[in-house]
Amino acid sequence: MYGVIIALIPAVLASILYFGWGAVIVISAAVFSSVLFEFLIQKFLLCKKTTIHDGSAIITGLLLSLCLPSNFPVWLIIPGSLFAIGVGKLSFGALGNNPFNPALIGRVFLFISFPAKMASWPDAQGFQTQYVDANTGATPLSIIKEGLGKGDSISHLMDKIPTYQQLFFGNMGGSIGEVAAIALILGLAYMLLRKIITWHIPVSIIFTVVIFTGILWLINPEQNADPLFHILSGGILLGAIFMATDYVTSPMTGKGMILYGICIGILTVVIRRFGSYPEGVQFAILIMNGFVPLINYYIKPKRFGEEVTNG
């Protein structure tokens, strides 16, 4: 578990670099309140042994904060983490039993309950000391979505959004954790190297998104953004690397993981392109979380000696 926290360090550092104090406040508030709620609920409400030492509450807090805007008010972070920990995790019987990723539960709870607060994204403008008064703007994804809604074409809209280089290094508006692609890829490399996760889920999600958006782009490049833009903008990398790979809520077998990843990829693009929200990763992952028991039930590892091969 602590390996995941180490893997998140580059993303946290990048967010502080880009958003300054706002990021520090949001991250520390979310982590601290998640751990505190886990402790309080387990100790006093459930009267059980507390399990904050396993680090899962820290991860939940970190992941929740990383998908919030840097000017998000603290008084909303607290109910967010309460919902993530209380409803998302402990109500199902603590670590190991929750069907849905708790951080995403918290994020979606905030996203649906306070859409206005969750739609104003401060621009990443280097280290800033202001907290609430940052310049806000739309994310590249919502620029595209709104533009297309108004009848603009992609080639025209592309001028309004940051360049790919900016997208890669995180110089854009968005939630504090998802902007810097490079930091997230560093985290992925660390987790693969330490064998914390396997390649199946991140690779299959990203691959599916590339293929699917590529097909759409080839069909009509004026209405659909290109695959590279889709990968680098929004929460796909954060979701594919850290959210979808959550041990508890992902399938057990390699084949199952690939199926899960492909479905998340397709759902994400469908929501982004055809749905009403500009971003779909969080919903896609939560929907597929619900299917994980089914995937585990039907997709079994290849038993030894199942098919006799003649070598």
Binding site: A94, G96, T253, R303, F304, V308
Partner: protein, 445 residues
């Protein structure tokens, strides 16, 4: 070496090797004062004693006759007087029937050839050899202790193509097979020829993990003198010493669920078994001793000993420098699959390949955390099972579902318990589940 070394495909782990005694030549242990020979040292029906209390026995004399097909005879490993035929606690602490012999001198049966000269010519016929192996009480010495003659009698409609000799020794610490291959290599090769003659096949493969490079080189050198025997180095991976995994690694064939190796035309025997066959057939010597590795980082002189069956474990540990003060557990067998012994008075049995003395801090189990479904156990299970699922099914008593999840395929290698980040006792429960499911199936018959 340009060619990729072979290994089995699915799962597997790489525990630290700790082969402390790989370079120590085998020492012959002096005789203890008293030996306790258990009557059930093999899989199958326990043997029936054919001596009485007060009888004088010689080394190699039959003291208990195997009964039924799957059973093995037991011979006295020392000369002396039978002082007790009673139930004695074995390594589990439960009492099992045993014969206790007080050692007097070292007088061998007359027909046993004690010289160490290599006798290469196989003079006996096929049936005579088989009878000799059965009489000598030879069992699989790799650990499972399955009576060897049973494996050599083929079902009528099956044909063996390949004989695989298991020199993998994938368990950490253990080096008894390694030393045997180095020091008794030629004898073992003759033993393999004997087995080939019984099975009427031309080809035998010795599979050895590549961490025993000296044994591989040595056997490759002498294999030119023994036609039909090939030596294959294998990539190090646990549990390669398991029969099914070894067959897959060497031949690419997978033994189907609940079938035997003969169903894919393969017979597997351990290197120590091949050596025991040589001694039984060429020297008339029944299975009365074996090589046991006594190892552990805290031991003063970890060694490989030639030990008479029935010697108390205490005697072995004292010969290896005595029991260190901080000992937490003494394990019989390997680190991964072995079982903790309850008392040091437990005797050496035919299937005991090692005694491990582990300090307290190494053996302490860490606290059990909830399963986080990290899927590590599924990834490493060499049999393609789902240990994370099998444990709660056993706990909840869902034995029908357990059977459907093919729990009986489990080879009890312990890889799942080893890899689990939450320190869950997966194998403990799977073992229980296997017993319950076996009961269920027997009831159905």
């Amino acid at each position: 070496m340009s060619k990729m070394l072979k290994t089995f495909r699915k799962g597997g782990i790489h525990p630290p090797e700790y082969k402390l005694t790989g370079k120590n030549p085998v020492k012959i242990l002096p005789l203890p004062e008293k030996v306790t020979i258990l009557l059930s040292q093999h899989i199958g029906v326990p043997a029936i004693p054919v001596v009485n209390k007060g009888d004088t026995v010689k080394v190699g004399q039959l003291i208990a006759q195997g009964r039924g097909f799957v059973s093995a005879s037991i011979h006295s490993s020392v000369s002396g007087k039978v002082v007790k035929i009673d139930s004695i606690p074995d390594h589990t602490g439960y009492k099992k029937p045993a014969i206790v012999i007080e050692v007097e001198g070292d007088e061998w049966e007359e027909n046993i050839i004690k010289s160490t000269d290599l006798r290469k010519d196989i003079t006996l016929s096929k049936d005579e050899i088989l009878e000799k192996i059965r009489e000598s009480g030879i069992v699989g010495l790799g650990g499972a202790a399955f009576p060897s003659h049973v494996k050599l009698i083929l079902p009528k409609n099956k044909k063996a193509e390949t004989l695989i000799i298991n020199g993998v020794e994938c368990e950490p610490y253990l080096t008894s097979d390694h030393r045997l291959m180095l020091e008794y290599g030629e004898e073992m090769m003759v033993g393999i020829h004997i087995l080939m003659k019984v099975l009427n096949i031309r080809k035998a493969i010795i599979g050895i993990e590549n961490n025993k490079a000296d044994a591989v080189c040595f056997l490759k050198d002498i294999s030119s003198k023994f036609p039909g025997i090939e030596v294959y180095p294998l990539k190090v991976k646990y549990p390669q010493g398991s029969e099914k995994q070894l067959i897959e690694a060497l031949t690419g064939r997978e033994v189907p669920s609940r079938k035997l190796p003969i169903d894919v035309g393969v017979i597997v025997h351990n290197v120590s078994t091949a050596y025991a066959v040589y001694e039984a057939v060429q020297k008339n010597k029944p299975l009365i001793n074996r090589i046991v590795t006594v190892s552990g980082k805290s031991l003063k002189n970890p060694s490989n000993f030639v030990v008479r069956i029935g010697t108390p474990v205490r005697f072995l540990i004292e010969a290896a420098g005595g029991l260190p003060e901080n000992t937490g557990k003494v394990i019989s067998g390997g680190l991964m699959m072995g079982k903790t012994i309850n008392s040091l008075d437990v005797p050496v049995i035919k299937g005991m390949s090692g005694i491990l003395v582990l300090p307290e801090d190494e053996t302490k189990r860490k606290s059990i955390e909830p399963c986080i479904r990290c899927s590590k156990c599924v990834t490493i299970c060499p049999m393609g099972l789902e240990p994370y699922l099998l444990m709660p099914l056993t706990q909840n008593g869902s034995f029908y579902r357990l059977e459907k999840q093919m729990v009986l395929d489990c080879i009890e290698c312990g890889s799942c318990s080893y890899i689990c980040p939450s320190n869950r006792p997966l194998l403990d429960f799977i073992r229980l589940g296997k017993t319950e499911v076996t009961k269920l199936i027997n009831e159905r018959k």
